[in-house]
């Protein structure tokens, strides 16, 4: 099989589905992976049999899901030698997919996601403040620099995602890391809709620096507070964005 590991973050994409696994869930999981950029344009998907094995569903279910993705223009299937299903990122970019997902959430649900994300990010930052070695701090500082110097929205979002991953890693907790990754897939991609312009970027750089400073000072309380504030700012921006979109 060609895709047993996808490197970081993909664990969430290629983990077994809940018991009510149906083609709809497969569609959603693969759409999210495309929206997140985990499956970049032109990437070949594993074969039907492999997908069925990965998701723990029948090949019939996989075939249904692929046909939906095909009709939405998200994959293209080529026959013959070197054939298979290939990802096609929509022409208006992955932001369009994220917007479509955003519409499925009420404002209350977004707040709830923000609460969970805040709990995970806060706990990660507090543990990182207790457990970071000097090279962990140096790495966090480097990612913070990368975030500050990123100029395009996409680069800013990537650096922000990387920063969250590094904090969870510095906490020395594989479980918190996994929670971070799956929340990034579920919620981080939505937060990106309202992040990337100069105003939000400046705010995120400031709060990022605050988290790193608290971790470097080995101050768990300050680190937790700064990380929670960072999520609260992002969530508020997203909800404002959703309200303005709904009006438009």
């Amino acid at each position: 099989m060609a895709v047993p590991f996808y490197g970081r973050a993909s664990a969430a994409v290629f983990s077994p589905l809940e018991s009510l696994s149906r083609s709809e869930l497969v569609v959603r999981r693969l759409t999210d992976a495309i929206a997140l950029g985990l499956l970049p344009d032109a990437e070949q998907l594993p074969g039907e049999l492999d997908l069925a094995g990965i998701f723990g569903v029948s090949t019939v279910t996989v075939r249904e899901a692929l046909s939906v993705l095909r009709s939405e223009g998200l994959i293209e299937t080529r026959r013959g030698r070197g054939g298979g299903s290939f990802v096609r990122t929509p022409e208006d970019g992955i932001g369009h997919l994220a917007r479509r997902r955003l519409d499925r959430f009420s404002l209350g649900e977004l707040r709830d996601l923000g609460d969970v994300y805040s709990a995970i990010c806060g706990a990660s930052a507090a543990l990182a403040a207790r457990r970071s070695s000097p090279d962990d701090v140096a790495r966090l500082q480097r990612v913070a620099d990368a975030l500050e110097h990123a100029e395009k929205p996409d680069a800013r979002r990537r650096a922000d995602a990387q920063f969250h991953i590094e904090v969870a890693t510095a906490a020395q907790s594989p479980r918190l890391y996994h929670e971070e990754v799956s929340l990034q897939a579920e919620f981080g991609t939505l937060l990106w809709l309202a992040f990337g312009d100069d105003g939000s970027h400046a705010q995120m750089v400031r709060s990022c620096r605050a988290v790193v400073a608290a971790i470097a000072d080995r101050d768990p309380r300050a680190a937790r507070e700064a990380a929670e504030q960072r999520v609260a700012d992002s969530t508020a921006r997203l909800i404002d964005y959703q309200l303005s979109e709904a009006r438009a």
């Binding site: 099989m1 060609a2 895709v3 047993p4 590991f5 996808y6 490197g7 970081r8 973050a9 993909s10 664990a11 997140l36 950029g37 985990l38 970049p40 207790r130 457990r131 070695s133 000097p134 090279d135 790495r139 480097r142 990537r158 995602a161 991953i165 969870a168 890693t169 020395q172 907790s173 594989p174 890391y177 996994h178």
Partner: protein, 238 residues
């Protein structure tokens, strides 16, 4: 209270040191064999390609397939620019959830979200800078295992030029299983720590794997508490 610089009785800690050394020798054995194979394959090739690394897979797969040894991932990580057909490359294999060896697939395109810049990571940087083998971790390895991991790496030089690292991963969980009998048999509270004082394993519930012990300085420790020249040592706690 930590007492990392307290002198420990050599008879008490020798079995722990021996257990750590056994894991390290095994993992470095795998990493070195990979390094040697890559060196041989690339020597005299001015423009090597991915296909020139074909010798790695048959070396690694039988090791990973043997569930009685602790290495769960191994391979060669190319220095950027060494290969002609791809700038960044990991010729890396790891056990999947069912214990079968599989090739690691990562994005080698720097703009992709899954792209992974290893040029700043200690398992790559330390062998490159020092020319010496290195143990990284315990750390959360988000490239490959997504687990708490130790990574053993050796520099690979071809005609005197650094070309990448050969490496082997051991899960902290496996290392702990191998170390616990000796740790439990010890009459003192002790911990195995890395160069930062980060605990790999201990025989105390108050000092857990991943925690940092203050004031650990490997260079100040007597030789019998250290694991050879590696950044690993046994120290007293409580």
């Amino acid at each position: 209270m930590n007492a990392p610089n307290t002198r420990l009785s050599p008879t008490d800690i020798a079995p722990v040191i021996a257990a750590v050394a056994e894991i390290a020798d095994h993992a470095f054995g795998v990493a070195t064999a990979i390094g040697t194979a890559v060196e041989k394959a690339l020597t005299g090739r001015p423009a090597p390609r991915r296909t020139d690394l074909a010798a790695v897979e048959p070396l690694v797969v039988p090791v990973l397939g043997d569930g009685n040894q602790p290495v769960q991932g191994a391979g060669f990580v190319a220095a950027p620019g060494v290969l002609q057909d791809v700038e960044w490359w990991l010729e890396w294999f790891a056990r999947d959830a069912d214990g079968r060896p599989q090739r690691l697939i990562t994005h080698s395109e720097p703009q992709a979200i899954g792209f992974y810049d290893y040029q700043h990571l200690p398992w790559y940087v330390v062998p490159r800078e020092s020319g010496q083998r290195h143990v990284t971790g315990p750390y959360v390895d988000y490239l490959c295992t997504e687990e708490y991991t130790l990574t053993f790496t050796v520099p690979v030089l071809v005609d005197g030029r650094f070309c990448g690292v050969g490496g082997a991963d051991v899960a902290v969980k496996s290392a702990e299983q191998a170390l616990l009998p000796a740790l439990r048999a010890s009459g003192q509270r002790i911990a195995v720590v890395n160069g930062f004082g980060r605990i790999l394993s201990s025989n105390s519930g108050r000092h857990l794997c991943g925690d940092l012990l203050e004031g650990v300085d490997l260079d100040q420790l007597p030789g019998e508490q250290r694991v050879g020249d590696l950044p690993l040592a046994v120290v007293a706690i409580d």
